[in-house]
Structures are given as structure tokens and as C-alpha cells.
Symmetry: D2
Subunit: 382 residues, 4 copies
């Protein structure tokens, strides 16, 4: 068995934020290696530069995704899967090209624009016996998996009501257009040809739909909705009532104009034997109330975690997984200092903890122990 899975990426040049995030995420797993890419359709310069920085064989940096799909399919060491991180409007064509060439696909969400396109991709993947993932990233949180298992195990009984929401505030300024200034919406969200038939529901409402389904397993039987456009071509706010296949109801709310909210996906599942409440901005904790008992706070990494969830927890309890980034920031600055030092530059202003800090730490520990041994006498440190 080959030791690694070779993969390629379409979109996500090194200046595009989302490509960076995807590549970092894949690097958490040492079993996959980036070997091919078509990182920018609009700029071959960015495409080439990205391949170089990422250490790719220049021959595997392709000018078009079609060429990439065909040539990689033909190589004995060709990619086994492609990660598609391009604008939404292009997902369908790109995914189709790779599927037709026998390559597994992981695609950003939303999958595509029409139900017919989505069904075609589903059928094509099935026919070619290929894996097709869609990047609903919030279901990757360990506690999403904990909640899913708790529901499956009957911990909250039959679901009887769901209340879920995803408010943001970042487009609120667009309700106050300033003459001569572009709306934030203008980037690509105003134009149905680029954004599809919906802005807010498509972008974030669809996360509510997917997350609730993931946790509860329930399918929506029917829904009704009101949306608010506030003078724009597409929706910025939506209130939705749903009815699930089991007869229960739920209410979903998504908004990009809710002052005081950042990225506040929050899901509350009420069953006839208990409830679960979870917030994306506090992803490591879930509030679980069994019927007739006090609410309890379950945290990622504790014994409450089931086996599958534990497998998705990458730091001990109480350590937010963003701590990876704190470590990364520290090393980033250190690496910067190493590079500057190499060039003979002064590195005193670079922000990382130094040996002097380590020395202070040792002094502190010794002072505490000395004081404690001497009935809490003062110990001088300076």
C-alpha cells in the first residue's frame, strides 16, 4: 500500500484565505500530500507562484481544471481526490470533470445552484463508485459528533421542537449605503448569476439545515419562510418554520444584519426526555439537560465523550482547539526571527517568549517554594 494519499486542489491560490485553511486542515493528517493543483483560473502567475511556494512539481500545476483532471487520471501516481475551493458558481462543472475522470471529490458548500445539478452529481458519483464530500465544516466539531451520538442513543428521547439560528452582523452597514462606496454585498453576493437564488439562506441558512439534520437525523418534510431583502436583489434575513418527518416543528432564523452577532450559529434540540444546546462560538461545550434533572455542561475531552467523538478531539479538555493557533503564532514569530537573524537584522522587537522569560519562570517557582517552606514569608525577586 502506498504510504500517502495524493491529492490536488482547484482554486485557493496562496493569497486566497480559504485555500490556506483547507491545506492546513489536510496537513493535520500526515497521510495526505498535495501534489497537483489549478490554483487560479484568472491568473496563471498566481497559479504558478502557488505551486512553487507549496513545493509542487511545476508539471502538475495546471492551467485548467479539465487538463488537471485528465492528466492526473492518466498518471500512475495521480491524485486520488481533489479539493474544490472555487466560487460557488463553478462547483458543478469542476466536480463533474473530476468525477468523470474517476477522481474522488471534496467540494466547498453550497454544492451547486440547482436541484437538477445536485442530483446529477450525486448520480454520477454513484455510477462511478466515487466518494463525494461536501464541506459542511461545523459538523466536524467533536461536540457535533457527541450530540449526534447522544440523540441516537435516545438521551433526549423523541425530538419535539428545534430552535436554530445563524445570525451575523457583517452586512449591517449595507443597510446604510454611502454614496460612492461599494456595498460589502457587491463583491459577489448581489448578483444571482454568481450567488445563486439566495444570499443569506444559501450561505448560512444551509448550515442550519445541515447541522440540525446531522445531529438529529431528522429530515424536513415541509417548510414555510419569510425573507427580507431590505432593498437588495437577494435576501439578508430569513425566518423559517419547518415540520420534520416525525411531526415535530422547528424554527430557523438566519441573518447577516443582526447587530451584536458575529458568526453565531446556535442549535437547541428539545426532546421528550431531555435537551441539547450548543453554540458554534463556544464549540467545546454542550448544555445537556435530562428530563427532571439539572442542566449539565459537557466539555470536549471529558469522559462524557463517546469513542467516535474522542477520535475527533485533538487536544485535551479545557484546551480550546484554537490553542493550535496560539502555538502556531508563537512559532511563526520565531521563524520570522530566524529569517531576520539569518540576514543580520535586529530581532529584539519580534514577539515570542525568550530565555529571559524562562529564567523568570524558574525564579518564580523557586520563590514560591521557598516562601511556602518558610511559613509564607516574603521572598524578594528583584
Amino acid at each position: 500500500m502506498r504510504p500517502h494519499v495524493n491529492y490536488g486542489m482547484v482554486g485557493g491560490d496562496i493569497h486566497a484565505f480559504i485555500g490556506v485553511v483547507h491545506r492546513r486542515a489536510i496537513r493535520f493528517d500526515t497521510r495526505a500530500r498535495l501534489v497537483a493543483g489549478c490554483f487560479s483560473a484568472s491568473s496563471q502567475e498566481k497559479n504558478r507562484e502557488s505551486g512553487e511556494v507549496l513545493g509542487l512539481d511545476p508539471q502538475r500545476v495546471y492551467a485548467s481544471y479539465r487538463e488537471m483532471a485528465q492528466k492526473e487520471a492518466a498518471r500512475p501516481d495521480g491524485i486520488e481526490f481533489v479539493s474544490i475551493v472555487t466560487p460557488n458558481v463553478t462547483h458543478y462543472e469542476i466536480a463533474k470533470a473530476f468525477l468523470e475522470n474517476g477522481i474522488h471529490v471534496m467540494c466547498e458548500k453550497p454544492l451547486c445552484f440547482t436541484v437538477a445539478q445536485a442530483e446529477e452529481l450525486r448520480d454520477l458519483a454513484k455510477r462511478n463508485r466515487l466518494l463525494f464530500g461536501v464541506n459542511y465544516s461545523y459538523t466536524g466539531y467533536a461536540l457535533a459528533k457527541v450530540m449526534r451520538e447522544m440523540v441516537q442513543e435516545g438521551k433526549i428521547g423523541k425530538v419535539i421542537n428545534v430552535n436554530a439560528e445563524y445570525p451575523q452582523e457583517w452586512l449591517l452597514d449595507d443597510l446604510h449605503p454611502v454614496p460612492g462606496q461599494e456595498l460589502k454585498l457587491s463583491v459577489w453576493r448581489k448578483d444571482p448569476a454568481v450567488a445563486g437564488i439566495s444570499n443569506c439562506v444559501g450561505d448560512i441558512g444551509s448550515h442550519i439545515e445541515n447541522f440540525v439534520h446531522y445531529v438529529t437525523g431528522l429530515r424536513i418534510k415541509r417548510l414555510l419562510a419569510v425573507t427580507n431583502h431590505f432593498g437588495q436583489p437577494l435576501d439578508l434575513n430569513a425566518n423559517i418554520l419547518v415540520e420534520y418527518e416525525n411531526g415535530a416543528n422547528g424554527a430557523y432564523w438566519c441573518s447577516q444584519v443582526a447587530a451584536g452577532t458575529l458568526n453565531a450559529l446556535a442549535v437547541r434540540i428539545y426532546g421528550d426526555e431531555g435537551s441539547l444546546e450548543w453554540k458554534q462560538e463556544d464549540p467545546d461545550n454542550v448544555r445537556y439537560t435530562p428530563r427532571g434533572e439539572a442542566p449539565r455542561i459537557l466539555s470536549r475531552g471529558n469522559g462524557y465523550l463517546k469513542e467516535k467523538a474522542a477520535a475527533n478531539s485533538q487536544l485535551p479538555t479545557g484546551h480550546p482547539e484554537g490553542l493550535h493557533v496560539a502555538f502556531a503564532n508563537l512559532y511563526k514569530n520565531f521563524i520570522t526571527a530566524v529569517l531576520m537573524h539569518r540576514d543580520g537584522q535586529d530581532t529584539d522587537d519580534i514577539d515570542f517568549p525568550r530565555v529571559e522569560d524562562g529564567l523568570n519562570g524558574v525564579r518564580f517557582i523557586h520563590a514560591v517554594v521557598e516562601s511556602a517552606k518558610n511559613d509564607a514569608k516574603w521572598v524578594e525577586l528583584m
Copy 2:
């Protein structure tokens, strides 16, 4: 200029949690590459296996850190820095060996056991004009940098009191020893020869000292302390009063036996013009109260972030940086499915969002838009 910084690691074989975290953190920065290592002193088997999995040239997987320091120093493409993630008792000797061979050092904390050792390392680094970092990782959080800048800018005036704590609960069971069962402490924390003169203060109290100093810039002038051993050779709980160089006082508390606390480093800085409150378990938010005004919640990624802090923020506001891990979990499962698929195994039970989920999302969006266009009529989805 060479495009990358070559680095090596001492300790942290692929089965050791802490090595994984450090390597992941370094991989956030594409400018550094792991090219050498002495991953395990006790097992050449683990050492060799780690080098192989990490894709290293076998000649650069060394049996001893001394050999590694000397041979890497002699190579034209030798490592520029070493990351030391070995047990605390070994830091001093290893760091010294690399410094003596002209290699920058990033060392896990605590730096070493005695003040004399720490001073020697400091002096050696200075003499050899080498960088020496110590891994006080919590100062890597973007909001640690925000707070530091706010203090420097006088946002809270002169510091007049500090209240900081770092309670954990994970050793509480050791107060209830079960005959025949090992204490959790027994791993290495009971033995001063391995753990140094302090267990709790050394391990976590030193984080309080460093973090408060980082944010406030204040040095401790003197301190007094009581510690509690609860029958063990080393401390499990400590209460400390400090006096800073500016005359203000502070109280520090650290504990490994505080039920209901996970990894609850929390720091509150009170100045004569305002205050800052921050919790490690909620690292993206800080509560800031200017004198005479209402408390406000500042979040990573918002406009409140200063330039330096923005440089240390790797996801947009409202997205906990642990979202990187959610992405990673999703890809990990997908990669597993790709490997299983390669071997002809059934992948239906592997947990990642699939094209059917994407199809449901498209259906949901279309149903919402159709209902909203028709005055909130019900739209069937099944």
C-alpha cells in the same frame, strides 16, 4: 536566499501527543521544514519509525541529540533551529548542546530546574548570538496581544491590582488513592528528580507568572505563598500574594485538585482607568471596562484588534480558531474513506458530509425562496 528554514526536533515521536501539536503548529507556517530529528531517546525503533512517517532522510534521524547537534551544525543545509519537546529534566542539557553548536533553540517550558542553569542558558545564547524561545504558548493567543497593547497604550491606566488563577481538576482523584492503583501523579510528578522542586506551581503556576508579565509588563518585586501537598511529595495547590515593582498587589492561585475546573487559566487586570478580564477557555473574547463606562466584549477579528494582533488572528471573527480542527476532522475522515475505498472496503459508515447532504442543502435553499416568494406558503420537501 533559501526559501525555507530547516528545523529539527528533539523528542516528540509520532506516538507522543506534544510532538504532534508542535509539528502541526509549525506547519501553519509554510516557511519552515522538518529535516532532522532525534525523536526518542529510549527507543530507536520509535525514532526510526517517526522519521519515516514524517518523510525524513534516514541519515538525519539521529540516535542522540549530541550527534544531531554536531552533525547538523556541520552540514551546509543543516537545521537553523531545534524544537525541544522532551521531559523537563532534560531541557538544560539538550538546549546547551544545540546552543554550543550555533543552532537556535525553541524549548518547551519550564525552561529548566535551577536559576543557575537558566542563567547559564541565557548567557550562552547571548554569547553565541543565538535566538532562544520558550514555549509559553498562551501568549500566542491573538487576544493576549490585544491586551498587552491595550495596557501599553494606557487603556486601563496604572495597574493597581491583579487577580489571576489557573485551576485544574485532573489530579483530584489522587486525593482518594485506591489500593493497587497508580496515582496519576506517579507518571513523573511525584519525583523531584524528574519534576523539579514543584509540581503544580512549576507546571501551571509558571504560566500565570508569564502571562501576567506578558500582558502588563510588570515584574514581581516580591511574593509570599502557601502550598498544599495533601500528603504527596510535591505541591498540588498554591495561593500566592505578589507585590509588583510599581507597588500594586496581586493574588495568584493554581491548583490541580479543583473540582469543576478544566484548564481554567483566567486573568483579571485592574487599572486606575479600567480593567481587562480574559479566560483561556474562551480565548477569543476579552471583557474590557473603561472607568465609568459599561463593560464591553471585544472579540478576536473585530475592528478593535490592533495591527500586531490582527497578524496573529488566523480566522475571521466569530470563527473560533478551533474551526481549523473541525475542517481537519472532516478531511481526516474523508482521507480514511479514500484509503478504505482504495482497498475496496465499504465506506458508508465513515462520517463526513456527502453529496446527498449537498443536495439536501440545495433543496432547502430552493424551498425557502419559493415559500418566501409565495407569502410564506408551505413547500413540501419529501
Copy 3:
């Protein structure tokens, strides 16, 4: 001018919880005096006993509310207002009787059962130029008044979305009927003849409607709703979409079967210039976010309070108004001890702070001052 307002009460005998709460609330204001009552329609014994305990003239304890209305109207020192705290089904007739006799009315909510009855009461009060209050008690919170004034002053601009909810859990057990045991619902909530056409919406949903209207001033133009009965005659859960007169939308949810929620009225008002968030279970704080700024926490009693709100704040900031009850508990136990002491009983087990506690407090203060004066030396207290 007479120094006091005389008032009477219908319902609320001394064993009925709600009468106690109303009388306590009125006693906060020394300008009103209870002088008449018809405390129990079903038991003249309870009626008489209540009058006696409450210190009323026995001639003003009436067997029927009609007699009370007529006789009090005829007295020169008759009641000026009546407080009606009887079951909902009786409100209409009783209120009408007092209005017809020229007496102001304060009535528990919901006002009555049909729109026609409510309109009749409104018209009757208007015709007779009488005051008619309805006890929507949550609007009495000081912060409800703060929010109302902030909306009126334009602090959040035009309202563009409302999200309000009132979940409770106390009827969840009724979804799991135990043979031979009465449902909690059975008391009076199952029977439309007693409860009216709705259980959950009538009881708590109506608080959402009133509270949002109070704070925003907006009227609902139209609404649509789904309710869930879970096999009972009346609703236990409801999801409602509303459209206000200004075109904005809102979603309301109320439930009596939501595990993990107590009495969790929560209201979030989003405007195009900011937002307000408030929870009944934390009534002294409101989260206010002006557009483009950090959220801030405003607390009752602080300078943020407007004049009208300050007039409705009865304790300083940081002192929950429930502190009145802590004081009351302390006195209650002390009064109990006084009564027992009068009878020669032992009072050692009665729970109130004693002179020995006061002595300990004085010792503590002296020890702290002595230690601080002596450079933090230990001071013995035992």
C-alpha cells in the same frame, strides 16, 4: 387630600401564592392600604381567616365580589381600586362589576377569553373614565423601561427583526403520563371552559406579545403559527412568525415542554443601528450593541439608566432586587425565633446571623488590619 389610597382584592386568600405576591408588591408603596376583600369565592372560612390575618374590618370582608363592589362604592372611605387575582375565567365578570360601580381595576392577565369581552371592558372603562390596568408584570422591570426608552430615542434605529421566546419545562412530564397519576395539566389547563382556547400561548405566549410591544412600540400586522398539542386538548408548544406594521418580521416561540428551561422569557430586538438582548432570568442586565461597535453590558442602577428607569430601580446597581427577599428571609427566621422565645422554646436551631457572627466579623477586620500593618505577618484568630 387623604394620605392613602384604599384598595380591595378579589381572590388571593392567604393560602394562595399569587395573592401574597400582589399584596407584597403593593406594600412596597406606602401610599396604598388594603381595606376590603373577597378573598375566596369557594370558602367563606378562608375568606374570613384572610381578612383577620390581614387586619381588615370584618364588615369589609365580603361574601361576593358584587356585594363588595356595590358596598365599597357607597362608602365615603370606599376602595379606589380593586386588584383582581382570580382564575382567568372569572376576570371579565368581576372587572365589569367594579367598573360599573366606578372603581378602578388592576386585573391579572390574560384579561379575558374573547375579543368581544375585552373590547367591552375597554369601552366600559373609557365611558366611566376609570383606570384599568392589566398585570403584565415583566414590563415592570427597570430594564424593560430602559430598553423602551432606548428604542424611542433611536439607539437601535428602525427595528428590522425580532427574536423572542418563552420556554419552560414544567409540563414535560405530562408527555409521559403515568397510569393513575394526574397530569400537571389537569389542574385547570386541559379544559377550554376554564383555560380558554389556548394553554401555552394564552399563559406565556401573550407575555412575549406584550413585552415586545412594550419595548418596541410596534404593533403586529399579521401572524402565522403552528402549535403542538402532543395529544392534549390544548397547545403546549407554539412557533409563530409575525409581521409588524413597519414591515419587519419576527419569530416567537413559547413552550411548556422544553427541557432545561425554567421561565426563560428572552427578547432580542435587532434594529438597523444596533440591537438589544434581554433575559427575564437575568433581569438586571441588557446587552446593547451599537452598529459597528463592541457589545456592552448595561446594568440596572448604573448611569446608563434614564430618569424613568431610575424611578423603577429599588436597590443600587449590582444588588439583585431579590436581595429584598434575602433580607426578608433573615427577618422571617428572626421573627420566628422571637415567637419561639416568647413561648420559652429553644431557638438555637433557627437560622439567622447572630452576635457571635458579628464578633467574628470584628475579629476578622482587626486581624486583617494588624497583618497589613505588619508586612503581611500571620495573625492568629483561634
Copy 4:
């Protein structure tokens, strides 16, 4: 047996906030009646006016507390207890006078200024077999009693560490004196002759001492402390380490200059079998963590409440006890409207819910039911 306990008050004229609070608290219990008072030593005018407004027999409004103590002791219907709410410096003399005349005492805290005075009062009460309460009001909260019982029942095992604090911010401005403006401290807190030997520790630190003792039952064996005066005669900030009789340690912090804190008494008790955390500003909830389990939130009024605690809970769970004040505010405004109406004034601007609000509520309920019956069709309300 006489149906009521007669009591008197020293201090607390009707313009003094604290007298109002005490009288309201006593009125929660219908067994006690105010019949005598010496409400103001400095103004006989205020004294007389207070008696009149409170409905007292003018002969029982006394010019001096000594006369009151003697004359009430001589009456067959004399007071059984006195509530002393005068400035701290006078407590000792007044309490002594009533004890010498055989009258029970409830005294505001701190009890008095010297240990000798406190011991004398204790001995005098004991000798005369009288009750002597001290108003440590926070122990009156129902959850204080819940925690005390949980500790007594061994729910958290042996106490091994305590962390308690009481920060406030209200004197922070005094660190920034404005020429020509009085300090807030100046009222009476700067002068040891009036305030005693301590300002901050005496006023609020003593609450920490009492509350922790109440909950844990532990006595302090010894303590050490640092205080900060910031240029004032008395302390404004204190950090204290304590050692309890059982060998455990604790840290107390109190401050009147901590920006962003209101009245933030918070107590955390760590035992070897679990922990309890409680905040005065959220008095109805306690966070309880049994060793090895998830933290749970216990709320006043739930089944977790013990018998004694239930007796001290005066509203159902989820209803903050400050709801009494919301009711009171509503009635206060209504009573104001009644008085204005009596005088022919316009009452339209008086803020209380009216019959029109009741009508809206009925309309809302009907609309919801109608919509729900008709498959969520829109129902018009305007």
C-alpha cells in the same frame, strides 16, 4: 397568644434608603408590626414625619433611643425586638440600651468597632437571655442555605481550598480627585472615628468572612493580608490569605476600586469530593460539580432544594425574586395614576399596562389559534 410581634426601629427615617429596605423586608412576614421608632437622632422633624407616614402612634415616636428602650420595655404591648439601622459608630451603645431593657436586637453589620465591645454585647445578650441578630443579609439567599446544607451533607467532601472575592468599582473615581470636588469617600469613610479601623475590609471584606463561614462552617485559624490605601487614610483594596481550622487554605480579595465590577461577591468552595460556585449578582443559581462528573447548574426552586432552603424561596423557579419589584413598580405607577385621577389630572403618560394591552393579548392568542388550526395561514391583526 398575641397574633403579632411588635417591633421598633432606630434610624431609618423615610428618606433613608436602608430603613425602607428593612421595613419592606419585615413586611414580607405578616407576623410583625412596626409600632415604635426613633427614626432620626439629628432631626426631630424627620423623626415625626416618618412616624406619621408609617402610621405610628405619635406617642411611640421617641426623641431618643434610650427613652424608647425604657418606655417600650415598660408597656404591656411594648416592642419585642428592635431593628437598628443607624451608622456603624452608634451600634454598640444602642444595642446595649435595648439589651439592658430586655428587648431582642437585630443590628446592621458591622456589629461594632472593637472586639471588646462585641464580646460585651454577646455576653449581655446571653446574660439577659435575649436574641441578637446581625444583618449579614447575603446569607438570607435561598441558595446560601442550599450550599450550606450540601456542605453539611458531605456533597463536596472535606473543604480543601476556598476562593472568595467581593470587588466593587464605585470608589474608583476617588483615585482621580478633581480639585474642588468632594471624594465619594468623604461622606464618612475617610474618618476612622466614624468608619472604624477599616473601610473596604470592614464594609465588604467582612461579608466574605461571614458568608464563607456560613456555607462551610469552617473557622479561620489565622490569616495574613496586604491592603492598599492609594493615598487615603483607610484601605480601598485588600488581598488576604487564610488558613482554616482544618488546615485548608483560602484567598479572599475585596476592593472598591475594581473597574467593571458592581457588587460582585463570589464564592467558590473546593472540596475533595466536589465544588460549589456562587455569585451574589446571580443569586438563584449555583454551579455544583461532583468529583469526576460534569458541572451542573442548580436553580432556586427546583427539586434540588432542600426543605430548609425551600422555606426561604418565595417565588417559583426561573422567577428571579426581584420579580417582586417588577410587580411593585407596576403597582406603584398604577397607584400614582389613581392619585392623579383623583385630582383630575391626566394619567395617559403614566406607565402601566392597560386594558388595551389586555385586548391586544386576547387578539394575539386568538390569531395564533386560528392560524394553527388553518395550517399556518396568515391571520391579520390590524
